[in-house]
């Protein structure tokens, strides 16, 4: 993909994100003009950017959005939620298009009728808002406008796709253009007409087809629809979609007169012969163009028309007619036959051939460049000089005008005509008025009518004048160092403070540091071997010393890479305003969302794993937690509910709280429900504390539509949320007071790339247990273990802790081995808020490992969190105590 498209997509994504955010903010502060301006600019920029590419649907929709924002910004219509909805929808559409473009890879968006239809529908809905509101606000203006306008609009109607931006003349086939050219050199006027009747014109008694058939026979014509025709049975015959384009042998003034009642629906371009002589066709190679150009140049300079014609005919015969060079040659022959003295146009055509052949243009001035724009530049300067204001910056403006005039004349090789300009400028500056310079310009140049004649009757000597001094800017100077598209980005951009890095690269770094930590961990084994196997204690010590250094560097490196992976939680939070808004809207509830601590950072994986659980929780809160406005009012609460999502770091964990001030959860209802579902027995029904009852919402199978876990009809229980959180070694707890609200608290590790595990031994094998789960390790004398109802227990610090033997859990048919003192090693793990002692044979050291999930069919094995490679090359299975039970 090319860098420009890359840039476009990344800038567009940022813009869409910002637009969404601004729209949300605007809902709270609809009168914030600064915000509105910013929003408009974002949409405007996005639209402008899309125009650089051929994405007509995107441009169309954005154009609609921009116009809507424009009317809002001007205060013509007020901002409201009904405006935000289609705007958000439009952004979603653009976003989807970006995905499509990205997926395509080559920057093309193949035509797709469905997409076009969607774009049309979206744009219509945006435009309807403009017209509906505007008419409502000022009924007469829209109707009266077309009649009061006196000159034809020179630009297309705003709702047209970007297809009008190219020079219309190139769309006319060469034969028709040549026909028009011949007529024009014989003195006839020709015009290009584009007529787009407005959609509702039939209801105003207009018949565009009659209008168009009353014109003289066109030299070329095209009738099309401004959008694809719908299927016949969906056609609205009375919504005018027609678009007429033609080249008419008629004076533009007469044509303007013909359409005087609907000037805004037509575009009329007066044609000039030179405008039509544009070679079209395929580019060529392998033709002896260089030689021809050499000959042609000398013929042109010596005025040898016949010689030039002969050489051109010869090359034309050599080339295939559909080539661009053939087209240029045909034009050249036509010009030679009709206007042999127009050397300027001939030179331009030769330049076209040269450019087409990719031959460097270092011999002749680029005349086609000088021909057209100098008239444009000069007439614009005349226009500026005709301004009657005298702003403080007038002197600067006058000097810039003089600079522009100087450049234009110089570039056309007409420095001589600049005589007297400096004096005129001086006089103008002294008098603080444009008039002296304006007079000078009027005396020295007969300005061409604006926009009508791009090639004024300049002396035909121009083409034969020697080329200006070699320092001519433009094609000449750049040749030696022609650059590859976008290659110089890095050297010239203001040094950026942030760079975007592909995620895969960071993941790779992470994996590498993981491997390094594992490799580093091999050193203590090596040290041990040096001493025990080879008996070199000195070496062993040195290795340990080196290990210490390496360890420190690896730790720092790991930390640094971890820092790179940190993302602010806003990455996930930013989706919530829209989610909350849309969901609340659907449920008919009013919600004020408060986000706190958005800049709190955590590892990318942790942050990403948060997204889905949080969405569940928020939906849940909105659906079941918060009451309807009526219920709230009846309960004496503010109509709008409040949902607070906050994040903060606590040592090496991130804590996220989602709190609402809704109806809360009734423990009695939960007890009843859990009992009915068979999750608890009668005894538990009595015994459970309120908090314990609340925790039942996390139990698998609890999902109840009436209470907590229907999640807006998705039938997903909170147990899914808890599992998702547990997967990243997080925990969740819930507090609620009936009538006052509910608060969920998620606690997650900052990072999950490197896990600190304790190595335990059981039945002669080594296993790992995540230190996150380990509360403590203790030795328990066998005599302190009691059996209550077949359940081993012991008392630790006055608290009864159930015990299980790891060998039993793993179905290993061996008894746990006590140490010499008859004590059992017990790892006390915390699962949610309960403690459980796991009896093992021995507890060993803790190590940092990179946990890899079990792959393949092993992945279905419950009870294991994954595996890791140890420094000595062996594989460690890491237990997941929660699932073991």
């Amino acid at each position: 993909m090319n860098p420009l498209l890359d840039q476009f997509i990344s800038e567009s994504r940022d813009a869409i994100q910002s637009i969404g955010e601004r729209l949300m903010q605007l809902e709270n502060t609809p009168d914030d003009h600064e915000l509105m301006d910013e929003l408009f600019r974002l949409v405007h920029t996005l639209k402008g950017n899309s125009g650089l590419f051929d994405f007509p649907e995107m441009t169309r929709v954005l154009h609609g959005a921009e116009d809507l924002m424009d009317t809002v910004r001007d205060g013509r219509i007020g901002y409201s939620q009904s405006l935000a909805d289609p705007l958000l929808e439009a952004m979603d559409f653009v976003s989807a298009l970006l995905d499509e473009i990205l997926a395509g890879g080559d920057g093309n968006l193949p035509a797709d009728a469905e997409r076009t239809a969607a774009a049309v529908a979206l744009t219509d809905s945006l435009r309807r808002l403009i017209t509906a509101r505007a008419e409502q606000d000022e009924p007469e203006t829209t109707a009266a406008e077309p009649l009061t306008a006196s000159t034809p609009a020179t630009h297309a109607r705003p709702d047209d796709p970007a297809d009008d931006v190219t020079d219309p003349t190139t769309r006319i086939p060469e034969a028709a253009r040549m026909d028009a050219y011949r007529r024009m050199v014989q003195g006839q006027s020709c015009s290009w007409l584009s007529y787009r009747p407005e959609e509702e014109c039939f209801f105003k008694g207009e018949d565009p087809f009659y209008q168009i058939t009353q014109l003289p026979d066109p030299l070329w014509r095209r009738v099309s629809a401004r959008e694809p025709w719908p299927a016949p049975d969906a056609l609205d015959a009375y919504r005018c979609l027609l678009h007429f384009e033609c080249v008419i042998p008629m004076d533009p003034r007469e044509l303007t007169e013909h359409f005087r009642y609907i000037p805004d629906q037509v575009e009329i371009i007066p044609l000039q012969p030179a405008m039509l002589a544009i070679p079209t066709g395929e580019t060529h190679d392998g033709l002896p163009v260089a030689e021809y150009l050499e000959t042609a140049k000398s013929h042109l300079e010596s005025g040898n028309h016949d010689g030039l014609a002969r050489a051109s005919r010869l090359l034309l015969e050599l080339s295939s007619p559909e080539l661009k060079v053939a087209s240029a040659l045909r034009w050249l022959l036509l010009v030679l036959g009709t206007q042999p003295d127009d050397t300027r146009l001939q030179q331009k055509l030769l330049d076209d051939i040269r450019r087409g052949a990719g031959i460097g243009d270092d011999t002749a001035p680029v005349l086609e460049d000088t021909a057209a724009p100098d008239a444009d530049i000069i007439s614009t300067q005349a226009e500026i000089l005709a301004l009657e204001d005298t702003p403080p910056w007038l002197p600067g403006r006058l000097r810039a005008v003089a600079a522009s005039l100087r450049a234009a004349f110089t570039q056309a090789g007409q420095q001589a005509r600049l005589e007297g300009m400096d004096e005129a400028l001086r006089a103008a500056l002294e008098q603080k008025a444009s008039s002296p310079l304006a007079r000078w310009l009027a005396d020295h140049v007969t300005p061409a009518p604006v926009g009508v004649d791009p090639a004024p009757a300049a002396p035909s000597t121009v083409a034969t004048e020697p080329a200006p001094t070699p320092a001519t800017p433009g094609a000449t100077t750049g040749n030696g160092e022609a650059r590859k598209f976008g290659r110089r980005l890095e050297d010239n951009y203001a040094s950026p403070s942030a760079i975007k890095v592909d995620q895969a690269k960071i993941d790779r770094l992470m994996n590498l540091i993981g491997e390094m930590i594992v490799a580093k961990n091999a050193l203590p084994y090596l040290a041990a071997r040096a001493e025990t196997v080879f008996g070199v204690r000195e070496l062993s010590r040195e290795i340990k010393g080196q290990y210490g250094t390496l360890n420190r560097i690896a730790d720092e490196m790991q930390d640094a890479i971890m820092q790179v992976r940190l993302l602010p939680v806003s990455f996930v939070f930013q989706r919530f305003p829209r989610l909350v808004r849309d969901t609340a809207h659907k449920l008919g509830k009013e919600v004020r969302l408060v986000l706190e601590g958005e800049s709190t950072e955590a590892d990318k994986n942790v942050i990403e794993s948060l997204a889905d659980p949080l969405v569940h929780i928020i939906r849940n809160s909105l659906d079941h937690g918060l009451e309807t406005p009526e219920e709230r009012r009846a309960a004496g609460k503010p109509m709008a509910g409040r949902l607070t999502i906050s994040a903060r770091s606590e040592s090496d964990r991130v804590v996220i709280e989602i709190a609402d001030d809704g109806r809360g959860i009734d423990p009695a209802a939960i007890r009843r429900k859990a009992y009915e579902k068979g999750i608890i027995d009668e005894q538990a029904l009595e015994r459970l504390t309120d908090q314990e009852a609340l925790n039942l919402v996390f139990a698998p199978g609890f999902s109840t539509a009436a209470q907590v876990s229907d999640l807006s009809g998705r039938g997903v229980g909170m147990d899914v949320v808890r599992t998702a959180v547990a997967r990243v070694n997080g925990s969740i707890d819930l507090k609620s007071r009936p009538g006052e609200g509910t608060r969920l608290r998620l606690s997650l590790p900052l990072s999950m790339a490197v896990t600190n595990v304790m190595i335990i031994v059981s039945a002669g094998q080594r296993f790992g247990v995540s230190m996150d789960a380990v509360a403590e390790t203790v030795r328990v004398a066998r005599t302190d273990i009691q059996c209550i109802k077949h359940q081993m227990t012991t008392v630790l610090r006055g608290r009864v802790v159930p015990l299980v033997a790891l060998n039993d859990l793993l179905a290993l048919d061996e008894a746990q081995v006590p140490n010499d003192d008859g004590e059992m090693a017990v790892v006390v793990v915390r699962i949610e808020n309960d403690f459980l002692g796991i009896i093992v044979d021995d507890c060993r050291e803790t190590v940092d490992i990179i946990l890899k999930p079990l792959a393949g069919f092993l992945g279905n094995l419950r009870g294991y969190a994954g595996s890791a490679l140890l420094g000595d090359g062996s594989v460690l299975l890491v237990l997941n105590p929660r699932e073991l039970l």
Partner: protein, 125 residues
């Protein structure tokens, strides 16, 4: 090498202009709004040509041009680039000090002749 200051808040547009202009052999300096353009002018200016977008945050194209034209420095031509083709917008640009008014989207074959025309052989007066 002639130096052109491209002022536009859209990075995509700046890159687009940079590619067109650099390929044609000009040096391009970028500014993301009128304010930054004035800073660049202070530090690296004056330039040989200015390509100015209208709608930008902080200081828009009109504001930049007025400030530029009020400066007592060699005055070079400026092209105002706009999405609006209305005569009113055009006049506002010319009043502010633009020397050409070009409507987006801009094709290289359209822009380059105008840039060359305004650079000519002329040095800022």
């Amino acid at each position: 090498m002639k130096r052109i200051l491209v002022i536009d808040d859209a990075a995509t547009v700046r890159l687009y202009h940079r590619e067109i202009l650099e390929q044609a052999g000009f040096a391009v300096i970028e500014a993301i709004n009128g304010l930054e353009a004035l800073e660049k002018l202070e530090m690296e200016g004056p330039f040989d040509l200015y390509l100015v977008d209208i709608n930008m945050p902080k200081l828009d194209g009109y504001g930049f041009l007025k400030a530029l034209r009020e400066k007592d420095i060699p005055q070079a031509p400026a092209i105002m680039i706009s999405t609006e083709s209305s005569p009113r917008d055009r006049e506002a640009a010319l009043v502010a000090g633009a020397n050409l008014y070009v409507v987006k989207p801009i094709r290289p074959e359209q822009l380059l002749p105008q840039v060359r025309g305004l650079l000519g052989e002329g040095h800022p007066s």
